[in-house]
């Protein structure tokens, strides 16, 4: 029975082999052939091997870290159909993998590392061990590495990886740089050129990206006026995402083009009745509420908040003029110095994000906190529920272009009446000055500088900056790299800081 089953399976799956190997069929064939023909065809010809259509990657499965790497490999290869991934127990070192196109073999090193159960940003995934001479394999490694950086959202590495490659175009260079948080003058000018020169041919997603990023860097600048008007025109004719239409409305609000702002907002609402509630830009909602376009309770609260934040910005400036403020950064450079008591002797102390004020860190960094400067993304900064603060200062967000900021601010109002934002103008100036999104620390120190003049060095602790790579941040309480999404340019920040802090 087994034999019949096996033969039948062979007939179905490989009829050629079945005929070749079948005694019965062979007998029939041989009967019909002349003896001469039989002698000539005695040996099966040695036929060439078919080339496999796929590239293959072999990686080792050996332990926890490799499970994370394997899962990442699988994610990276999802969009690359020409690669087959083989996972197994192989004679390879834990950081080695093999790539093959069938004809050539390439031994590669997995250089990405795992930190806190996450693949760390800042490096490629694969690097060939020897000088690879196989163009095909080289292309595959390139594709895998690009996919790796995109998977991690590591646009910083992607930008530096791509910028000198021959296939890099102005469009891709500008896109990757903006995504990476590289906002130098060169990139701003290139982006403006790209977007104006290619307005008609750029993909809508790219147009949205350029506008969103340029608005982040330049604010409601006249350089963006023409682009915003073109986009408004396109929105009147074409289908655009509701969130983008609302962002354009927010831009027009900030630019003082209230009619256009209301028109865009209405356009968004016509596509989605919840467009306003789901895209809450404080300035825009205040405009809509004050022009009676909306009268719901949440809009009223947001409008109140808009006015309160504007007023509190002013209040903080008065406070800063009248009080000496000691600023404690989260850099690890104070560890072991036992200056906690000295720090706490200051009248007014400002700390950042989820600064830890618990023993044993109090020994070096103190405990007292009057002002908390924070990023409202709780992924990166714990929800700070301290009472009795003089101010909470939101470092990342503004009255006009920050979406849904009010939700977090209403939450924080439970703990502190005095919440304010870092002035929009200061953020824009500083961003352009250092060519990157500035850190909370630098923004706050710059604000103090604008209010008080040169910041006294004795009032600053925990600002190391020098030991941090681009895109990385370190914290005294964690000891390892944290905030993998940060894209601050520490080198530029250090240079700028030296100009605002007294010698």
């Amino acid at each position: 029975m087994n034999k019949i089953k096996r033969k039948f399976k062979k007939l179905i799956s490989n009829p050629q082999a079945f005929i070749r190997d079948s005694r019965l069929v062979r007998k029939v064939i041989l009967k019909n052939k002349s003896p001469a023909a039989i002698t000539i065809n005695k040996k099966t010809p040695i036929t060439p091997l078919k080339k496999p259509s796929k590239f293959e990657i072999y990686i080792n499965d050996n332990g926890m870290e490799s499970a994370i790497i394997i899962a990442h490999f699988q994610d990276c290869l999802k969009g690359i159909s020409e690669i087959k991934l083989n996972i197994g127990q192989y004679r390879l070192k834990s950081n080695e993998c093999i790539l093959t196109d069938g004809d050539n073999i390439e031994l590669a090193t997995i250089i990405a590392s795992v930190e806190n159960n996450t693949i760390a940003k800042g490096s490629l995934l694969l690097e060939v061990t020897k000088n690879n001479t196989f163009i095909n394999t080289s292309n595959i490694i390139h594709k895998v590495n690009v996919s790796h950086m995109k998977q991690l959202g590591d646009f910083n590495s992607l930008y530096y990886y791509y910028k000198d490659r021959p296939e890099c175009t102005d469009i891709s260079k500008a896109k990757y740089a903006l995504n990476a948080g590289i906002y130098t003058r060169e990139i701003i000018n290139l982006s403006l050129k790209v977007v104006y020169d290619n307005y008609l041919t750029l993909h809508q997603n790219d147009l949205n990206l350029f506008f969103r990023k340029l608005y982040r860097i330049l604010g409601a600048d006249s350089k963006l006026e023409q682009l915003a008007n073109k986009l408004a025109q396109s929105i009147r004719k074409q289908v655009y995402p509701v969130s983008f239409i609302m962002l354009l409305a927010a831009f027009f609000t900030e630019a003082g083009e209230y009619d256009k702002a209301v028109e865009m907002a209405k356009k968004a609402k016509s596509k989605d009745k919840n467009a306003w509630r789901n895209n809450r830009f404080l300035g825009l909602i205040h405009l809509l509420y004050s022009t009676n376009e909306i009268n719901e309770e949440w809009a009223k609260n947001d409008s109140e908040l808009f006015k309160k934040l504007s007023r509190n910005e002013w209040e903080f400036e008065i406070y800063a003029r009248e009080n000496n403020i000691c600023v404690i950064g989260n850099g690890p450079n104070e560890l072991g110095k036992k200056q906690g008591t000295l720090i706490d002797e200051n009248d007014n102390i400002a700390r950042f994000n989820g600064a830890v004020t618990e023993y044993p860190f109090t020994e070096d960094y103190g405990r007292k906190t009057n002002i908390v400067i924070m990023n409202p993304r709780y992924y990166e900064t714990q929800r700070n529920n301290k009472f009795g603060l003089d101010f909470i200062i939101i470092s990342d967000g503004n009255l006009y272009s920050s979406k849904n900021l009010s939700l977090k601010l209403h939450d924080l109002e439970q703990y502190c009446e005095n919440i304010c934002l870092i002035p929009r103008k200061l953020d824009i100036q500083l961003t352009q000055e250092i060519g990157a999104s500035p850190s909370s620390g630098l923004k706050f120190l710059t604000w103090l500088y604008k209010i008080q003049g040169q910041v006294k060095r004795k009032n600053i602790y925990g600002f190391s900056m020098i030991d941090q790579r681009h895109g990385m941040a370190t914290s005294y309480c964690k000891g390892t790299r944290t905030g993998l999404n940060t894209i601050h340019n520490w080198e530029q920040e250090k240079k700028y800081m030296e100009t605002i802090v007294e010698c």
Partner: protein, 315 residues
């Protein structure tokens, strides 16, 4: 750098020696000595070798016994380098063959170094090649050789001389088919340290008239039984020395027996396809298998096995 000895056995290879000598002349490293071992050649091969302009150290010797295995053994006994490589006279190697083997030998000093191969026909089309997954598999190489997961080929490798001597790894005399199997089982028996080179550096040229491609005769059957018996002895000795439970013990024996009968079936099919006297040869194969006392246990296993091997070979 450690010294590499290359052993090239040949018999009446006057048509091929020129090619392999060109390959050796082109080597990027001269850190090797070649031992040409003639298996009683009569076609002028030795004279040809003497007349060639060879740019490498070499010695020409006559085999002490007959068969390709015996010629290789003669090479092992007469060479003195740190590592030994076997190359067939009608095959080809890459220009950096010695350089790469020498590098791994010097810096890793494993017991055996392996490289990848491509089998090519006379038109240089690739007809088969190293199966990468099996090549890099962590499975014990001895077990892979028994199950047939890796090919039983003595070339494309470099063996540390000391390792071969310690394990008394030699080729059987007067066997023309499957002599590599015995040598490899002995060489891989004591879990040697193996290093891999990830490159296709050995090119097995499949000539229509090569030893492995000839019409089967009674000698093939004799060789098959002799090699199978020798393999079974090495296999059972190793199995009995291992500290494994009865189930694993039995499982290993089933693997061996199935492989043995799979090979017997291939030989039978080869005879049917390519021999004019297939009835008598098939009968001889059956009789010799049934008469082998050494192979009685694997035969009992297959007789009661769920596979069709028994009926395919014996009936």
């Amino acid at each position: 750098m450690l010294e590499i000895d290359i052993i090239i056995p040949f018999r009446d290879a006057v048509d091929h020696l020129n090619n392999i000598c060109s390959c050796l002349n082109r080597q990027t490293s001269n850190n090797f000595t070649v031992y040409f071992i003639s298996d009683h050649s009569t076609d002028g091969s030795i004279e040809l070798l003497k007349s060639l302009d060879l740019k490498f150290k070499h010695t020409i010797l006559e085999s002490l016994s007959s068969g390709p295995g015996a010629a290789r053994n003669t090479g092992i006994e007469n060479s003195c380098g740190d590592y030994i490589c076997f190359i067939d006279a009608d095959d080809k190697i890459s220009d950096d063959y010695i350089e790469k083997f020498s590098f791994v030998a010097t810096y890793e000093q494993p017991d055996i170094i392996e490289c990848m191969f491509k089998a090519i026909n006379t038109d240089s089309d690739v007809v088969s090649k190293t199966n990468l997954a099996s090549y890099i598999s962590c499975e014990d190489r001895f077990d892979s050789l028994i199950s047939g997961a890796v090919p039983r080929l003595s070339w494309g490798k470099a063996y540390r001389r000391e390792h071969l001597l310690r394990n008394n790894a030699r080729f059987p005399d007067d066997i023309y088919n499957g002599e590599d199997h015995i040598f490899l089982l002995l060489a891989y028996n004591k879990t040697p340290r193996v290093s891999l080179i990830f490159d296709f550096m050995y090119f097995w040229v499949r000539h229509p008239n090569s030893l492995t491609n000839r019409t089967p005769t009674e000698k093939n059957i004799f060789d098959f039984i002799a090699v199978s018996e020798a393999k079974y002895k090495i296999f059972t000795e190793r199995l009995n020395s291992q500290d494994i439970d009865d189930e694993a013990h039995h499982k290993n024996k089933i693997t061996f027996s199935r492989r043995l009968f799979k090979e017997a079936r291939s030989l039978k099919n080869d005879i049917i396809k390519n021999s004019d006297q297939h009835s008598s040869l098939i009968e001889a194969l059956k009789m010799k298998l049934l008469a082998s006392e050494t192979l009685s246990e694997p035969m009992d296993i297959i007789k009661n096995d769920s596979t069709s091997y028994w009926s395919d070979v014996i009936h």
